[in-house]
Symmetry: C2
């Protein structure tokens, strides 16, 4: 017990190496994406040999799977307004502490099928809870749009680092998005509910007259 710092046991040593490899893998996958990340690079960043990475994780795909494990954070249920606010809060959290594992998934999802599946799976519970909370018949489209907004913002802030998005404070972003989220999560304010289908009114809202 007290010797832990003096002489690490073999199991400890192994766990440490695995953790170091995983941490570097997450970092590099998030930075370069799946394809451009090489096992050799991960190994060298972790200070070990590439063979060891193979030995511990089996393959590059499995390494990615382990590195990209991300706990799907669930949304509490409630009214559509509450769920929209919860989604905003969740976004705020992700804008504050930048979870590397989910960035690795995001960075890789466009070029790696496994990452794409992982991305879908990670977003699914949120999507379902959003859908359930939204009282219109097009609830899943609305929920999908909310999800798309969240991911678009995160991607452009952290992966593409568009300056105005990267510089802004999370609070500022959230405050600006709140009306968006409310308008998507709740049916038009004039009318509380009802089987409003996708509107079939033939009149296009061609000219929006600003009062």
């Amino acid at each position: 017990m007290t010797e832990s710092s003096a002489r690490p046991t073999r199991a400890q040593q192994r766990r440490r190496s695995e953790e170091r490899i995983l941490a570097e893998a997450r970092r590099i996958f998030a930075e370069l994406g799946y394809d451009r990340t090489t096992i050799r690079a991960v190994a060298s960043a972790a200070g070990v040999d590439a063979g060891l990475v193979m030995h511990y994780f089996g393959s590059k795909d499995l390494l990615f799977a382990r590195a990209a494990e991300v706990p799907a954070d669930e949304l509490p249920g409630g009214t559509s307004e509450e769920v929209a606010e919860a989604l905003l809060t969740s976004l705020g959290r992700r804008l504050n502490d930048e979870p590397t594992a989910s960035l690795a998934v995001l960075r890789s999802m466009l070029t790696n099928a496994d990452a794409a599946d992982r991305f879908r799976a990670a977003g699914e519970p949120q999507l379902n809870q959003l859908t359930e909370a939204i009282p219109t018949s097009d609830a899943n489209l609305r929920a999908s749009l909310l999800s798309a907004i969240v991911h678009g913002v995160i991607a452009e802030r952290y992966l593409l680092r568009l300056t105005h998005l990267a510089d802004a404070s999370p609070e500022q972003i959230i405050d600006l998005l709140r009306p968006c989220f409310q308008s998507l999560a709740t049916p038009p304010p004039t009318e509380p509910a009802g089987g409003q289908q996708a509107d079939d009114s033939p009149t296009p809202p061609a000219s929006v007259k600003p009062r």
Copy 2:
């Protein structure tokens, strides 16, 4: 009879081959992204040898540059409401006819620096015009959020093919996003924030030169 169909001139032949290569390159780049697209695959899809692709385009990077050339479609100026509506219309167009070249850029932007630059450059004029039309001091953050929403929706619809987004009609998506766009493009409705546009007449001539 006419020699046009019987025997194509050498220049014609070359132009045809180049076009075929470019078309296949766009398609495959859009489908697989930069890294996973190989010159050999493009060549074989176009029915030519890989060396020919090199000969005509110089390198994989240059081929990508040519395949990813996308005309930046400009937004007309106007009030913030009008510009928001124009952005919606532009989104609708992109949701309708799925321009392969810009999908190639989108698919590759997270793993290829050149594609990322190209993406930034393609979005910049829109971003500027949005920013100019929005009368608040956080205009460029608002404009960036609008841009992020557009790209998030396109990416999840065409690249990740999330079912609810892929199945929805462009009109449906646009109608749901309209309130979002308006709330981002215009300052909070309760307070005009230092007098919005002292002159009630919008910039009289639809000036072709914004500056």
